[in-house]
């Protein structure tokens, strides 16, 4: 048996995954803010000394590989041979490898016998990092400076000593410094546990064997990923989809175009044809575009392939400088989640042409964000938010799922009872949106209808939608999903249609009705099983008119 038998490598892989999971658990467990604890918006990774991902623990795919450019930038600014045991480095600037300002990364070198052998890194979405609005995700930002404090590559801790100057500067620039430091300390704890366990592993297995094993693990994931890509027919597949607008120029749709070229065991995503960067905060720096591409590659290959840098080796991105997917400083970037979701959808949409049987129709791909801020009757203030999903696309063998998170995000909605106990808002309806699923042999998933009424006081209201102006497309002859629609019905009876993005004020008696998008259908509607059509009618998923006109249902009624 050589030192590097596949068994030892597999044992080590379980240990590395276990370490990443322990880092993530420590990070989530010791964080302060609800966005980390409940939104699970944090991740942990181990890196090789070369900066390739060794193991990663994530709760939401949007974090996939986002630490890679950060580690690269930090290695550049602080060469590993200059690092000392106990050092911790920090960075959040999207134009220096970060994603958006609330996502702060910490990176710690792992030492064994006085030499750095790897990195342990964590990233957390912080509740507030300063800037023009609480929460640091201003919909109306037009420059990154408005979005919060920018941290270039810096040393947060030198050995065991914190950089007090930096800490003081950070505390002074955020709205809730105690929470901020609590979450930052949780990151320190996560990095530390990773470094400690990896260093113990080096002690047990020997550093040389370990570093050979690292290479082997990366190579294995690369081989497996390449095998999966080889199974996809070679060719260039293009797709175009749109974001509704950037929140500033409301009538301007934002085009995302991708040409996915599969060649042998490699995949290249070229975004030529994508619109230039926009005024509003929907620009997406390369790390976000990469997360989208990596998600798509993970989804079309085998999700059981161990996630590490090897999976990403066969993937190349061409991101035109100055475009939406690779903006120039100082374009604002905080709302890039919608963009990442749409990029993911575009890449998957392109691959539908290569693998029509495996790929579903387009999903709603919408995560509607609502924010309400106002005063309760007792004078106390509240801010509450909602994240609302759309329907998923139907596949070749089954209907889409109603109201479900898809692609790069995975957030929970807010219970009506939780909302009403917290804020003077009443919800009148939470219902599946009849007829919103794209028609097809397999029907697209339905969107949701939710109706709110303001009970007290003046409410500052933000609406950040998608799919109001460009539907999720059907596949293989299936119909498109319904577009999203949101309406404000003022207390005086006037109605306003929300143009996807809106910052407004609501008053008592005003009602907001949101209807999210449906997923695309798959296959010709005429081919849908009659019993399935009848069941949809009985269950209220389609109307009698749709049953008759779209699906040609005759006879029996309920």
């Amino acid at each position: 048996m050589t030192d590097l038998d596949p068994i030892t490598v597999e044992v080590l892989r379980h240990k590395l995954d276990g370490i990443a999971n322990e880092m993530e658990t420590t990070l989530l467990r010791s964080s302060f803010s609800p966005i980390v604890k409940e939104g699970l918006d944090a991740s942990a990774s181990l890196f090789t000394l070369n900066g390739e991902t060794l193991a990663q623990a994530i709760a939401v795919p949007i974090h996939l590989a986002t630490l890679i450019p950060i580690v690269a930038k930090l290695r550049e600014a602080f060469p590993p041979e200059t690092m000392a045991e106990g050092d911790i480095y920090i960075l959040n600037d999207p134009y220096l490898g970060g994603t958006h300002l609330p996502d702060i990364a910490l990176v710690m070198p792992v030492f064994h016998q006085g030499r750095p052998i790897a990195f342990s890194a964590t990233m957390t979405h912080h509740q507030d990092v300063g800037g023009m609005s609480p929460g640091s995700v201003p919909t109306n930002a037009t420059e990154v400076y408005q979005e919060g404090i920018r941290i270039p590559p810096l040393k947060l801790r030198e050995g065991e000593t914190f950089n007090e100057t930096l800490v003081a500067m950070l505390r002074q620039n955020v709205r809730i410094p105690d929470t901020f430091m609590g979450d930052l300390n949780a990151q320190v704890a996560g990095c530390t546990v990773g470094a400690r366990r990896l260093s113990e592993l080096a002690e047990t297995f020997g550093h040389n064997r370990l570093s050979v094993a690292f290479e082997d693990l990366l190579d294995r994931s690369e081989i497996l990923t390449r095998q999966a890509i080889e199974a996809i027919p070679d060719g260039t597949y293009s797709y175009v989809d749109y974001l509704d607008n950037d929140g500033i120029e409301l009538d301007k749709r934002i085009r995302i175009e991708v040409a996915v070229t599969v060649e042998g065991s490699s995949i290249r995503c070229d975004f030529a044809g994508t619109d230039d960067q926009v005024k509003g905060p929907f620009n997406c720096v390369p790390s976000g575009s990469q997360a989208a591409a990596y998600y798509a590659v993970r989804a079309i290959t085998d999700p059981t392939i161990p996630t590490n840098g090897g999976c990403f080796r066969p993937v190349r991105l061409d991101l035109p400088a100055g475009s939406l997917v690779n903006p120039r400083e100082p374009a604002p970037v905080n709302a890039r989640t919608a963009t990442i979701k749409r990029i993911t959808g575009c890449i998957l949409g392109a691959l539908k042409q290569a693998m029509p049987e495996r790929m579903p129709a387009d999903s709603g791909g919408e995560l509607l964000i609502l924010m309400f801020g106002g005063e309760r009757r007792d004078g106390s203030r509240y801010v509450t938010g909602e994240l609302i999903a759309a329907g998923s696309g139907a596949g070749a063998k089954r209907d889409g799922v109603d109201v479900i998170e898809t692609d790069a995000t995975n957030c929970m909605n807010l219970p009506v009872e939780a909302l009403e106990m917290d804020a003077p808002i009443r919800v009148h309806r939470t219902a599946l949106r009849t007829d919103s699923g794209g028609a097809g042999t397999h029907r697209g998933g339905l969107g949701i209808t939710r109706e709110y009424e303001i009970l007290d006081g003046e409410v500052a209201f933000t609406h950040r939608g998608e799919r109001h102006f460009c539907a999720a497309r059907g596949a293989a002859g299936g119909g498109d999903g319904a577009e999203a629609v949101s309406t404000i019905r003022r207390a005086d009876g006037t109605e306003e249609t929300v143009p996807s993005k809106l910052v407004s004020v609501l008053h008592p008696g005003d009602r907001l009705i949101v209807e999210t998008a449906g997923g695309g259908g798959y296959g010709d509607a005429a081919g849908r099983d009659g019993a399935a059509v009848q069941a949809d009618l009985d269950d209220g998923k389609i109307s009698r008119e749709a049953a008759a006109e779209t699906y040609g249902l005759k006879g029996k009624s309920t």
Partner: protein
Amino acid sequence: MTEIGVDIGGTFTDVVCRRAGAPLQIVKIPSTRADPSVAVLRSVKHMVETWGVDPAEIARFVHGTTVATNAVIERKGARIGLLTTEGFKDVLEIGRQMRQAMYDLVLEPETPVFLAPGRFRKEVPERLDAEGKVLVPLDQAAVVAAVRDLVEDGVEAVAVCFLFSFLNPRHEQRARDLIEENFPDLMVSLSCEVDPAFREYERTAVTAFDAYVKPVIDRYLERLEGGIAEAGVSAPLQVMMSRGGAAASSIVRQRPVRLFLSGPAAGVVGGRMVGKAAGTEDVITVDVGGTSCDIALIAAGKPMIRQEGRIEGFPVRVPMVDVNAIGAGGGSIAWLDGAGGLKVGPQSAGSEPGPACYGAGGEAATVTDASVVLGYLNPDYFAGGALRLDADAARAVIEREIATPLGLTVEAAALGIHRVVNAQMAEGIRLVSIRQGLDPRLFTLLPLGGAGPVHATALARELGIRRIVVPRFPGVLSAAGLLAAQVEHEVSSAFPRPLAGLDLAAVRGVLDDLDRQCAALMAHESGGLSDPRVLHFADVCYIGQSYHLEVPLDLAADDPLRALYRDFQVAHDRIYGHSTDAPAQIVNLRSVHQAGGSDRLEDGAYRANGEAVMPGMRRILLSEQTEPVEPAVFDRAALPAGHRLTGPAIVEQADTTTVIEPGWSATVTEAGDLIVERGDA
């Protein structure tokens, strides 16, 4: 006094009989899947005819059943209807919109729509506000009309879940009265009784599950009650519940959702008892079965309880013993990926066809096959000799599937399979304890299931655990847990109030009411339970947090609410790594009444079977060595209390095999359990 525990498993129904002054008797009877009560009644027959038990002398008859769990797994519950507040009938189908399969492109529903598809969900005009005040009165005619429609569509039970009913149950209660008046045969589950806590989706789902299994459980337990009474058993039937306590069958029939996953719970309760007998209150139980490995923590003598579990991937807000399954077990299949890497699981050969060595047509290399190749399992004495293992088949399959492609010897491949599966299980155990803020090294490992003790010393070594207790009967520990279980009743109530300035009298008032409800439930139990232990708990969180921690509330303390806050901070610090002086609030109050239960499995002392301790020898391979060793092989039943042996050694018994690595030594306790310790300790 005679006490009986009968636990239904997938393959066997385990029966344990405890009699004063007599050794424990156990038997395994093949389960009867179509009607599990048949096997239970056969077990009664066995007791009477083979063990000479007088049914009239049975003082306690405790039953563990998988009927509720299986009704869900097999989708064989009742056709039910769901009644909701107007505007909210789709809450059950929409759920929380999160998906579990993060990378799947074609998704599957995450909510239990099968319980009540749209046509079986009806809305009625009524509405309470966020303080429980009536905004829209209940439309009684609409209730009757909606239920009439449902009855015409063939429903057997109705679940009722109105918004904010946890603050004011009157509308739901009135709906039930109307249903009972008009449709007396219909069964009803009210959300304010099943799970009076906020978050409408979770409450709706658990209430619908309750209604779904209610007619099934009702028929099953009624048949069983009748059957054992007919056999002359006068003790009332008790049933094990998810939280690890038992309750009278008549009570269980009213809230059957509390039976979900009670099988693994009983095993943990049994583990608690064995740990206690071996002098430890901090135990990690690891039940290595065919397809999975179930991990549970017992800290300070108390099994960890979670307030919400999952069944078939769906959330069920039922308090249950916190059992964490990972997909690694004896049947886990070893395979090579496209890059020539060795993987174990998550696919399993299950029990049919099972590992290749079962000789039932299994063609995949499994962990059990590796155990045979390594010499850990005795082909002639597996399951007490009930199944002869085909060692040649085990060798052949590992050679073909793993060894030859990797260029390894069969033994090296088998060792590799063990190393990989052990690494997986050890990381799983570590994560379970770290999530609770507990250091696994401070715990005693208690391996269960046929395969647990095979892996125990290897797992303990990886985790830095120094002490292992192998129960005398690891294969029937769930049945033994039934005898150990306390009778328990638990009732909770939503109580969303800030702690600051909270009037203790208001808390007392609610708890008094909950205590009365618990006492009324306890009154249904058989005699000898006059003096129950009364425990109070509060679910507490910092204001603004949406997760909470269950904290004991001691009304006898000097300042109970101050103590509650302090204890909450301590718990928060342990589990989340920090705590602050920020204001906190109560979410729910809970009362738990417990009675009975036992810390010892057997009344008499353990006695060996009297045969000479004559160790055999066989060659085995341990991961520490590359050369085979020839350890002593002992028959567990022949080892007297106080007997001591040192590794390497193998201890065989009918229901498991314990592998003791070099560097470990073992001692038989007075209770007959085997304590395995690191070093010479």
